[in-house]
Amino acid sequence: MGGYFFDFGFIYRNLPIFWSGLGVTLEVSVLAMAGAVVGGLVIAFGRMSRRVWLFAPATAYVEFLRNTPVLIQMFGLYFGLAVLGFRLSPITAGVLALAGQNAAYLAEIYRAGIESVGRRQLEAALALGMRRWRAMRLVVVPIAVTRLVAPIGNQLVVIIKDTSLVSSISVYELTMEGKRLAERSAATYEVFATIAVFYLVLTSAVSLALRFYERRVQLIF
């Protein structure tokens, strides 16, 4: 096998390619996260409502998406819809699939968070004569939000890692650029080691920010 040394020069020469891939990865992550946070809220309220026509679809959505791989949802959106005439661009299909899947997880996190905080604080607010809707808005949700930052943050880490899957529907993000560069050069191992470092920096940055926020919040709560 011979002395296999790590060719840093190669990495340096191809930095622009990694940067452009990183840019797309961040774009997909942010869009998907936004979709998941908003979508998750909508589904969470569906899950918590007493009306069956709201509860049933929300539950079906959560159960179905949590038990099927995001890759299949991605192919379904990208190739499936195209056959019916809705041609989504690779990025749109990728973002929708990631947002859809993670909205299901976030919905459960919101529901658990609100319900665990909810009962005691809700009763206190109602005891003060507040109507249910204002109590939720003024008391329950704000408290829940601060407690949910950690799980939501973890979901962002999951999304960042899952964006690597959109490479299979031709989105030119970090992993796809890696695949293309690997094909073009003999330095396949260097390429993917560099990509791994990029993901490591991204995910640990998010976790560090979370830990910092948690320590600061712990002082207040």
Partner: protein, 275 residues
Amino acid sequence: MRRAAIVSGALALVLAWTGPGPHAQESRLNVVLKRGEVIIGTTSAAPPFGFIDEKNELVGFDIDIGRLVAKALFDDPTKAKFMPQSFEARWASVQSGKVDFGIMSTTIYPDRLRKVAFTRPYVDSGIAVLVRKDVNVSQMLELNNEKYTMAILNNPQSADRHKRFTPKAKALTFDSPAQMLLAVKTGQAQGMQFDVPVINWMVAQNASAVKKLPELMTPAQNNAIFLQQGDFAWWHFLDAVVGEMKEGSLYDDYKTIYHKWFGVDPPAQRWYLGK
């Protein structure tokens, strides 16, 4: 007693000298013959060369050619074990010896000659362009337009051809020709570029949906069998077998296989024999 010592000393010297050379690993040819079966790296995603049919079996032109090589080795075409693999993994699997040789619609290019050894071509190739029928394009240049999207394979040659012929069009990069065709058939892409025989087969299979453009993106090219470098005996065997297929004792088998997959006869054994 002394004489015996000298003789055995000399004998040992001779043996050491004529024994296996510094890196005379056993030739892959002997390994395969001893094993009684040849392991062939191929693809299951590039019709008509290698793909899964309705009966869910791995079939195709490359598969049949592989069996012809097995017949040449063991007089028994069934002594071939096919290992489907991705296009990215094809070099590594012959270099590491996981497969004895690779046959998966692979075109000879200089950069590839640096990585692996190739036999002489077993089928002509070249890059043709397939487009959707509902896209009124008759010449390749018309495709060079932002409103079109082309599907290409994830390798440098495809990317370079895209830059040269259809730079304005958007590019979708996929890992296999089958995925590229799916992108075209679902309308995510309007066209794709790939090996001539594969494009011919795809057009034949989807006559209502797609059509082939008359010009080629490249001059005639060569698809060939690839194997580990530096194994002269194994290379010579495979190269000679391909020679026999195209111009020698295996031409009849080669002709039936060729006709079965491409609907036409292969080039004649000798130029002067013409059809």
